[in-house]
Symmetry: C2
Amino acid sequence: MNENYLKYVGIMRKIMDVNASIAVLSWDQEVYMPEKGADARAQQVATLSGIGHELFVSDELGKVLAELGNDTSLSFEERKNVEETLHDYLEKKKYTTEFVIKMSETVSLSFQAWSKAKDADDFAMFAPALKKLVALKREECELLGYVGHPYNAMLDEHERGATVAELDVLFEDVKKQLIPFIKQVAEQKQNPSEFLFRHFDSKKQWAYGIELLNQMNYDFKAGRQDISSHPFTISFAATDVRVTTRVNENDFREMIWSCIHEGGHALYEQGLNDANYGLPAGEAISLGIHESQSRLWENNIGRSLPYWKCNYARLQEVFPENFGTVSLDEFYKAINVVEPSFIRTAADELTYHFHVIIRYEIEKALIEGTIEVEDLPRLWKEKYKEYLNIDVPSDQKGVLQDIHWSHGSFGYFPTYSLGSFYAAQFFAKASENIPNLEALIEAGNLKPLLEWLRSNIHQDGRLYTAEEICIRVTGEKLNFRYFMDYAKKKFATIYGL
Amino acid sequence: MNENYLKYVGIMRKIMDVNASIAVLSWDQEVYMPEKGADARAQQVATLSGIGHELFVSDELGKVLAELGNDTSLSFEERKNVEETLHDYLEKKKYTTEFVIKMSETVSLSFQAWSKAKDADDFAMFAPALKKLVALKREECELLGYVGHPYNAMLDEHERGATVAELDVLFEDVKKQLIPFIKQVAEQKQNPSEFLFRHFDSKKQWAYGIELLNQMNYDFKAGRQDISSHPFTISFAATDVRVTTRVNENDFREMIWSCIHEGGHALYEQGLNDANYGLPAGEAISLGIHESQSRLWENNIGRSLPYWKCNYARLQEVFPENFGTVSLDEFYKAINVVEPSFIRTAADELTYHFHVIIRYEIEKALIEGTIEVEDLPRLWKEKYKEYLNIDVPSDQKGVLQDIHWSHGSFGYFPTYSLGSFYAAQFFAKASENIPNLEALIEAGNLKPLLEWLRSNIHQDGRLYTAEEICIRVTGEKLNFRYFMDYAKKKFATIYGL
């Protein structure tokens, strides 16, 4: 390795150490921090963020990147690392210090306003702060630059290369195919599921969730699970990737599928090459690809019949009072009920995507300025009526439900749907590549699938883009057909279509 | 406030944010980190330590301190902050980067060697690393500078102003008075205590420990307790001060008095003025004064008769199978058994100080070069025979028991005894100042004592030195007589002398 490259690696590892430290502070904040510690913690995170930012936009890094950019002796991986870092560097350099401070303050106020507004079920309490934030996000789009639609700048921050032009086509396709299919399902007799909402002891749920994570081959020596109010996955290094979950004693689904979902995210992070700590080759590709991993485990595995053929007897053993008289078939149908609902995070596999599309359409219009913040509650209700045929009863169960906008995260939601669609496409290919995958799952042997994901997706980090990895693994770009095929096959069987 | 002072405060807060972040990472490392995370964590801590050090020895801070040093407009508190910081700054500046790196590497190797040697019960495995470390510590003394004995440089790092000349006098006094008294006690019939070593359910112990912390007015909204292999207190801000403990199901004493001891440390940190975050006025005075707070709660309160008059009925309720037939008097005598033993952390209030004196004498001779590392096991055994009349059976139960030397902490141990002596002196004054203190303790009302400690000691941070605060509070310098009076009165009653 040449001296410049070693210098580059040294700077990147140092930045990663700072970012990992921020992650530890954030993790602690969500799971263990006592309430009075909040103000000091916010300041500590802000200071480290500033230090990390300064290190990243430093002339020292800029200089070494410029020199490495002309270095023809680099290996493929080295060159990719340098290119990706240069891309990130140039993006970060677009932000002036004043803008960063203003954004940080605005987000902080906006988050506080949202929390209060949500508790009070009153969008008007959030609107003024959100208005300022949207204005600033519009400014950010100009500052970042874009081709075509200004919202492309936001999308690119969350899913590199994603554009309005492509997403419009994709989501039109989703609507065209999913709406009639969901309608068809809705006309069928609904399967009973009330047994999922009886009382489930939280300690038993917890222990069972741990069993499922172990079965997925989540490495507890390189991670741990804790309780938080919103489940999340966080990585401090591939050797320390933590998940959180929450327990609802009256809804069996919440903890179990959040375990599996976050477990999927965590397997991706644990599967990154630790030797590339701090370098793009040691980082996840994009939010969409990240979500493909969590969704694949959550839905394609965790809500599948083979998975429960393997696990249901044990589940009955743990909760005999709830599942003793429920057959596997009844259980499987209950956990796959399709029904329009208000809350995105509790939605089924099919209606879920309309929650995303509604947010996408609103964000796009907000950023381009064809709607204003005041219009949101009304538009929200209209769209839920149009796409899901339900009447949203309140802002709390509507426009205020998600944290994202209050954090300034515009362009994030589409990655949730992209993740599901990538998951279906990857899973189809895995089923083709791994002999007897279904039988392996039925036997509780999930290792071959994990190894397939590791060697095809995880191990390369950001050496390939989302589109490139999709083509490398499946032979084609993202194609919604795979999701639709999967959904039709699965739910046609369940609903006897 | 003038502009320079505001600048100074800004820099100090930023440094504190970095140091607090290191503390969060260290806390996590001891209580929750999965094992594979260790290497990355060590690197993350090292990076933040480097950043913190650079910020502290920066010319920016040096310049503003120099200007403030000539500023006659500062208030008493502002001037003290600046003076204390200048002292710390000049100390830190004495270290060259090469020396810091070499020390960090040597400590790291030495700690690993010690861990293995302790497990294997073989001092020879630790000796070569310790030899290198001692050589480096001798070098550090020269680098720091000292008046009189070179070990004064080490003492000053842990207890500002402490010197060999003074400690020699103090410890001679301790020996002269404590040795005959312990001998007198040893000649009495020993009180039975075997009921402390039956089985105590760990969950019940935990819950009871939390009760005791609450009774002490430890603020759980500004802290929390967790389990670690060695109990400790750590602060991220006065609003987030955490304690840890450990549970031994076959030794009731371990968890209870570690809770009270760490609780005492934590009350000090929670009692610092949060408005002075990052400034000397918001920091603890010294290790000795810190230990005075933990010892006061652990011994003067936690091993006293009034305390257990208040708490024993509840304890019997929690552990009826162990204490149901044990009287308060029997319990009180059992928790105050005086008996020479091998392990410092498990020693009683009286013999404890010989554990400290032995280490002090060895450290002093090691640093001045009159003994060498090879001599340690032999000297250790000789001194335990001389002072405590016991035959140390192994290195594990002898010279290898403590982590301090492997960490390069020389000059630390004396602060443990100083803490006990300060505690006795402070407690004597508190008993004088607070009407009916004994009756308050018997009633479980520990708030007046805490308020006394807060207003007399905690709230001022480092505005006064250890000696100054001792004189301000008690009217005189540290005086061993208070400890001896306390000990004689207490143990003469217990042992019927």
